[in-house]
């Protein structure tokens, strides 16, 4: 028997969900693909010190991950394998975003623009395979805001409803003033930003036990979103809509310490008028937290209309039975339906009667 705690065991983890699917389209807003040719293109320029999750990983972690990528390759790149696994999970529609290890934010302006365009085209080809079920999420050359703004309009032209952004850009925080035009462009284009970390930059003490991921990922999101709030990015861009993966990291349940500091420490103030937690309440969170109690807590605090299914497919730090997790929360039927699909359909405008969709369906 395959050891379930092994790369081979995880590849076999997708078993049909036993949880009844609601009579609506279920949507997974947190899933990944990779674009191998973009990795080839950037390889000569690789900056290992700017890939913290790998840079700070132990050798055993690196071995496990290489083995997993080898065994799970089809899940990342083959649409048919993806669709079969979506069926097993009870997922009708999946938003397909790049794996964060393909951000390549360290590339120079020309290379970064070229790579992002290549990746977005590749994602467009993947989702064109089954446009009713696969929805593209774009990537941006965030280290070069001018190029990123250009790519925002290309992504809108590709018909994607969202972009994926890292939680930092080579260690520069997202509230850097240089990114203001990017937030404005996303707001203008009506693209949702899905904030997805790629590990934490100062991870010296997170090497063992895969803490680079287990702690590093939620930590990175926590820092990014707290900075975005305190620096007033959401205050200046009220139309910017953002989804936080992994349940939003730590802030959604640990907001009160930040609010307290905001009330009592001058360093927190200057850019926003309301409490930090009020800005947080405008954001959306996925369910990749592996704990129905925490999901319930998030639903109580932010409302079931702010939660969405995320699976982190096909990573081993993913959820293979999202409907089972959702059922375990004991949300009422309206809440279950909202989280299972309605919220995402509304936020990402996955409305099949819309002209743009119909057009693309016709060409597909």
């Amino acid at each position: 028997m395959t050891d379930p705690a092994s790369p081979a065991g995880w590849v076999e983890a997708w078993q049909p969900t036993k949880t009844p699917k609601p009579d609506l389209r279920t949507v997974d807003v947190h899933a990944h693909t990779m674009v191998p040719e973009s990795a080839e293109l950037t390889r000569p320029h690789f900056r290992p010190e700017l890939e913290p999750r790998t840079f700070y990983s132990s050798s055993v972690t690196k071995e496990i991950n290489s083995e997993f990528y080898r065994l799970a390759q089809d899940k990342y790149t083959d649409p048919e394998t993806r669709l079969a696994d979506m069926d097993a999970m009870g997922i009708d529609i999946q938003l397909v975003a790049l794996t964060p290890f393909h951000y390549f934010y360290w590339a120079d302006n020309d290379l970064a623009s070229q790579v992002a365009a290549m990746q977005n085209e590749a994602i467009a080809r993947t989702v064109a395979h089954e446009p009713h079920r696969l929805i593209g999420v774009g990537t941006l050359p965030l280290a070069h805001p001018g190029a990123a703004v250009t790519e925002v309009s290309r992504i809108a032209d590709l018909g994607f409803p969202a972009v994926e952004i890292g939680a930092d850009v080579n260690g520069t925080d997202l509230d850097d003033p240089g990114l203001e035009p990017v937030w404005a462009a996303l707001e203008e284009a009506g693209l949702v930003a899905i904030l997805h970390p790629a590990g934490f930059t100062e991870a010296k003490r997170l090497t063992d036990y895969y803490l680079v991921n287990v702690i590093g990922m939620p930590l990175s999101t926590t820092l990014a979103v707290t900075r975005l709030i305190l620096a007033g990015v959401f205050e200046r861009h009220p139309g910017l809509r953002m989804v936080l993966v992994h349940g939003g990291g730590f802030l959604p349940f640990y907001w009160a310490r930040t609010d307290h500091a905001f009330r009592h420490r001058p360093e927190m103030r200057g850019h926003i008028d309301r409490l930090p937690s009020e800005y947080l309440a405008d954001l959306y969170f996925d369910l990749t937290v592996f704990d129905a109690e925490l999901v319930k807590t998030l639903a109580t605090r932010f409302g079931a209309d702010h939660l969405m299914i995320g699976t982190d497919y096909p990573f081993d730090m993913g959820e293979t039975d999202p409907l089972g997790l959702l059922a375990e929360t004991g949300l009422d039927e309206a809440g279950f339906r909202a989280v299972a699909g309605e919220n995402a359909i509304r936020l990402f405008r996955l409305d099949w009667t819309r002209a743009g969709r119909t057009q693309r369906d016709g060409s597909g």
Partner: protein
Amino acid sequence: MTEQRVIDVHCHRECGDAAAIVKPEADRLGRAPLQVGNELTREVNKRQLMTLRPKMESIEVRLEDMDAMGVDVQALSLSPYQLFHWVEDVDLSLRAFQTINDDLAKVEADHPERFVALGAIPMQNPDSAIAELRRCVSELGFRGIEMATHIEGVEISSPQYNEFWEEVEQLGLMVFLHPTGFTQPQRLMDHYFINTIGHPLEETICAGRLIFDGVMERFGGLKFVFSHGGGFLPMYAGRFDHAYHAREDVRHGLPRPPSEYLSMFYFDTMVFDPDQIGYLVAKYGADHVLLGTDYPYDMGETDPLGLIGRVEGLSDTDRGLIAGGNAARLLGLA
């Protein structure tokens, strides 16, 4: 005494005499207290050290504040920034820590009904650590100690402390864990993140290491009380358990999933949010949550009983345990 006393397990006192002992060494190394952060943070902290001086120095002021907060007993620990683990000289550090503990012992002796001392340990030298630990118990009568979440970057779960934890377990001491910001603070300089994110992050890493490094497996009798509600881990344990089941590099021979060891820990109420306290009680039991205030700092809670009162669904028994019953039990107070 039949009436339930309200016990605050998270409150601080400075020790000027110990600071004076290490001052030449601090000057030589260019170390100043609470100076990690941007310019504004450093200025605010400097000012706070001055304005808090009466509360730190005067027992009368402290007793008045305790009365105002409804706290009968403080389980008193040193301000963590004065845990002088950076002093390498063995004799000098031992002298500083002995001075700290003698001072705490005197506060307790002067007001035995109001204070219980938590000892400070020179962890930078494992032999001194055990010696001072024994002195704290046998000579000073301490029932608990305060512990940093790392010793100058070395995890407290590292093998060099095996003997120490074995001794602490045998002595039955309560261990109050308190961080001093994150060891890699480069990205936490603004917005007082060194505290608001750094503290809970340190606790998360420390709890994770105590679990995964096998300290709780080997020394299951240890009574760790985490400050700031244990940081992020108590509510985010699902990701740890999932990783344990999915990955060999996480499991690493640990016989049980991390959340089972996490249930052996205790957490204070210093989280500012009654719902979060409610979550901790629901998940870990009312017998694992203890009142704390972080007195006298600005990141503290001035109405701890009010906060506990706002937690929904607690019985009077639960509230009694959190307000003082658990602390009395862990500290072995009659």
